[in-house]
Symmetry: C2
Subunit: 415 residues, 2 copies
């Protein structure tokens, strides 16, 4: 049941949404016109506009005097602040930080990346990320004064939790009191907290974080192949095996931020030990290093996953066999996922997805043989659309996702 406070919070947010929507479609409007269009009382409308102005979301302009007015004062119009709405997404992956920048219209206007030293700690990652953002902004003439929020994609399993860092105003200090997570906000593992605080401090805006495989899934749902899907299973097959699920149009995060995990589903509880502590995990059977080892055991020495992909594209028999067997194992896990989650779409991303039917066909066979016989449904299995910047773009989508029409920083802080 919603409480009266919930209802008021929601009411206020929807009122803001209505005001912003009206301004988005009409351009500039007077307060009287806004009152009329939104159905709000004069008092409520004035309070909301003044709050939005304080937060820099809307600005006041003078209307051209159409007719002489009694007190000689021209009417003022309210419009969206054109200098607001820049969003930055950062993907802090293994060995590389990737950046995407989107404008107020939610279009990606710049992407870039920079290498990270092997085994870089959170603070090193933060410095590299900050440097990349500053460099790209300077090079491409992007004014960071218009920056609204930063989304961060992080690697790995969430194993410890602190409330998310939420800085509600430009330059607001990262005080403990402001670290209340919004509903559904991902929580930050303690080891990443210094990184998140450093980025928040540097830019003085709200920072949201999530697992970067989940963010790649969200990017596919926002800009990529999964755009029409509301129920989607995404797997990223690369050095590791990551995943992200969309259920009813929302990213499935789980109770501890670990939802969407596929790499550590066990195929055989009596199988070989995995670095995670489990046994017979999918990642131990089909992860990048395991594939290289399997190729070597069949007499084909390859120095990298890229070389393996090329060899498979060149149809080297031993490499193709290794990939096809691994894809069948992935398919077996995905068949279970499909049975339980009933998606309309399974999206395969990561380097291995470039192999197309060699990878997709064994997955399709496993799903149709194990998940679909009981009820013939149309479940598409397809390659991801987006490239290496998917997670950085997903970090932007994260900032838009829960209530897409309201930029995150415009939302009232939830007490």
């Amino acid at each position: 049941m919603s409480t009266p406070t919930d209802a008021l919070q929601r009411l206020r947010r929807v009122h803001e949404d209505a005001v912003l929507s009206a301004l988005r479609s009409a351009g500039a409007l007077s307060r009287a016109q806004l009152t009329e269009r939104t159905g709000l009382s004069r008092t409520t409308l004035f309070a909301i506009v003044s709050d939005l102005m304080e937060r820099g979301a809307v600005i006041e302009t003078e209307a051209a005097p159409a007719e002489p007015r009694g007190r000689g004062r021209p009417a003022t119009l309210v419009s969206l602040n054109p200098a607001a709405g820049l969003l930055v997404g950062l993907d802090l992956g293994r060995g590389r930080v990737r950046l995407a920048v989107a404008n107020a219209a939610h279009q990606v206007v710049a992407t870039a990346s920079a290498g990270l030293p092997e085994g870089a700690g959170p603070l090193e990652q933060a410095e590299a990320a900050v440097r990349l953002v500053r460099e790209v902004a300077a090079e491409r003439g992007i004014g960071l004064g218009a920056l609204e929020a930063v989304g961060l994609g992080l690697v790995g399993v969430v194993d410890e939790h602190v409330p998310a860092v939420t800085l509600t105003g430009p330059g607001a200090p990262a005080s403990p009191a402001s670290r209340e997570p919004g509903p559904g906000a991902a929580r930050v593992p303690a080891r990443y907290l210094p990184l998140v605080l450093r980025v928040a401090e540097e830019f003085g805006v709200r920072v949201a974080v999530d697992n970067n495989a989940r963010l790649a899934a969200l990017a596919e749902a926002t800009w990529g192949v999964a755009r029409p899907a509301r129920d989607m299973v995404y797997v990223r097959w690369s050095v590791g095996v990551g995943g992200g699920f969309l259920a009813g149009g929302r990213l499935l995060r789980g109770a501890h931020g670990a939802g969407g995990e596929l790499g550590h589903v066990s195929l055989d509880p009596a199988g070989p030990a995995c670095h995670c502590g489990g046994r017979g995990c999918l990642e131990g059977r089909i992860g990048g290093q395991r594939l290289l080892d399997a190729c070597a055991a069949r007499g084909v020495a390859l120095e990298s996953l890229d070389a393996l992909v090329t060899a498979a594209q060149d149809r080297v028999p031993a490499v193709c066999a290794v990939v096809a067997e691994a894809a069948a194992d992935l398919g077996r896990v995905l068949a279970g996922t499909v049975t339980q989650l009933d998606p309309s779409l399974v999206v395969v991303g990561g380097e291995l997805a470039a192999l197309g039917s060699l990878v997709l066909d064994p997955i399709r066979d496993a799903i149709s043989g194990q998940a679909l016989p009981r009820s013939p449904r149309q479940i598409e299995v397809t390659q991801a659309d987006l490239g290496v910047n998917a997670s950085a773009m997903g970090a932007i989508a994260l900032l838009l996702h829960e209530e897409p029409s309201i930029p995150a920083h415009l939302r009232p802080a939830i007490p």
Copy 2:
């Protein structure tokens, strides 16, 4: 991105919510008081109240004249209609129909059940359900004129879809035009459509349907052991094996209404054929009949699942061994589910759950060995709280779930 129409729809719904919330907490209020409390303009408030009155959700009463007024007309107050808000939940299970009735305060005020003939078709089920509702209403003096909506729990896999039947007003005909599904509404398999239409026609109210294992999960989350959980895995272990998942506080339905399936997850793609067309399915290994057969193979003949539960409670060794092995298989599937969905709680319902630790411990072992080593999290594995009426209660929860504070019939139709 939300469209202007979305925003207006949402605005209108939230305005109604605010009016209903104010009335719920304050009792009766004048329109002037409602204007003040909700921040709405006079025009908007009057339109919303008049719309709510037309739909029978609120009524007008005359206030006691506190002071003489200019035009001698007493102020009128608006309050919730006490004769509205009755909700009926029906669970059309194998061999039995179960009924739960809830009042406007969402409290269950009556439950009952009736047998169904073996192999009863949808129309027979509908007649039995209608008869049960009429009988219980007559016996307990429940006025069906106050009936708002009916929730139906149905057995089996959804294999074909038609839009949900939505009758928006009392006595509204089930015209094809009114069959537009709301967002997230379950769709009705064609074989059940006559049943749904019959119930809708009989009572002239909105009918919502869902799978009855999912509804049992929803009931546990609304009234039972899963009340605080927002991410929960529910399994019902009985003659069949059913399931339901809560993700981020919402029932996971899937793209084709088959989300939450656990019984047909394959443990062994090369295993014995299952009636679903797959191989090595969980239900084929641990379903009620399979357990009875396994006991018989070990020299213990039992005539029913109840007898099996009793024998296990009496610690008959062969029966305990069969149950423990089956629970380990269930645990293996649930470990995969937990890895992927990251719930805070796993709830075991159905007849077998009565065996407590005999069933729960092997599940806990499987989850902690296979799903948790990589990240020590607190995931509780526990018995369901609710009894045989869980699915009928869940059918009521379904009517409240998506927007709990607005009875479903009060929502404006979505064009």
